[in-house]
């Protein structure tokens, strides 16, 4: 596990699962100025991710240690510059994951819900296009690297 920590921002890149309820609670714990916590959980879907008709039995996430944490930290710094935030938490797993397992968590605390929602979605959109993670699906026919989705580039470019 690797962590980068600012006052109320933290990033973890880890193989282990995480406790969503505890992470969300930590974003407002003892901080009565927090009125809103928006969060996101991404999970491994079993259906045909690549549209090629075969079920995904598992996937393996590769990442670029060092750059991963650095890029997530930069995304969070960018979000803090755009919105009034009181805390952010990003957790991204790597290694082998089966359908239904959690992959990623993004949580954002703010005084107001508009900022919390916008920053949470912004961080997810950027994470999908800027953080160096690569998915390889295990299918009955063998391993298959997932192609980048144009929809992700479009989602991220909304914020440019």
């Amino acid at each position: 596990m690797s962590e980068i920590q600012r006052q109320n921002d933290s990033v973890s890149v880890q193989e282990a699962d995480f406790d969503v309820g505890a992470e969300i609670a930590a974003l407002s714990a003892g901080r009565v100025e927090v009125g809103a916590v928006a969060s996101f959980v991404g999970l491994v879907r079993a259906d045909k991710l690549s549209g090629e008709g075969s079920e995904v039995s598992a996937m393996t996430l590769e990442h670029y240690p060092g750059m991963t944490e650095k890029s997530l930290d930069a995304i969070i710094a960018d979000a803090n510059g755009r919105w009034s935030l009181l805390g952010t938490r990003v957790i991204h797993r790597f290694g082998r994951l089966v359908p239904g397992e959690r992959i990623v968590f993004v949580g954002v605390a703010s005084s107001h819900r508009g900022d919390a929602f916008a920053a949470c979605e912004f961080i997810m959109d950027y994470l999908k296009t800027r953080a160096p993670f690569w998915k390889k699906e295990d299918t009955p026919e063998g391993g298959r690297w997932v192609d980048a989705r144009e929809a992700d580039d479009e989602a991220a470019s909304r914020w440019d």
Binding site: M67, H92, I103, V104
Partner: protein
């Protein structure tokens, strides 16, 4: 000038290398020059050729082909990211 070059994901598998250390000749000034140099090795290395969808980072920051490379840089080539 000596640089470390890393390869990730499908590119790593195609090339059969996860990393190498290279001593660069003086005519390699930018990331684009380095990529062209590597693609010029031929065979599987054509995966780094022009028109192939490859991204790159210098010292763990994603950058474009015009950026200059410097001695002791950590350079990485990889496919578009697919995390989250």
């Amino acid at each position: 000038m000596s640089v470390k070059v890393l390869y990730f994901a499908s590119l790593r598998e195609t090339l059969g290398y996860s990393h190498e250390t290279l001593t660069l000749s003086a005519d390699i000034a930018t990331l684009g020059d380095l990529r062209a140099h590597l693609a010029h090795r031929g065979g599987v290395w054509e995966a780094l050729g022009e028109g192939r969808n490859v991204r790159a980072a210098i010292n763990q920051e994603m950058v474009g082909a015009d950026v200059a490379v410097a001695d002791r840089d950590e350079i990485a080539f990889f496919p578009p990211v697919t995390g989250g």
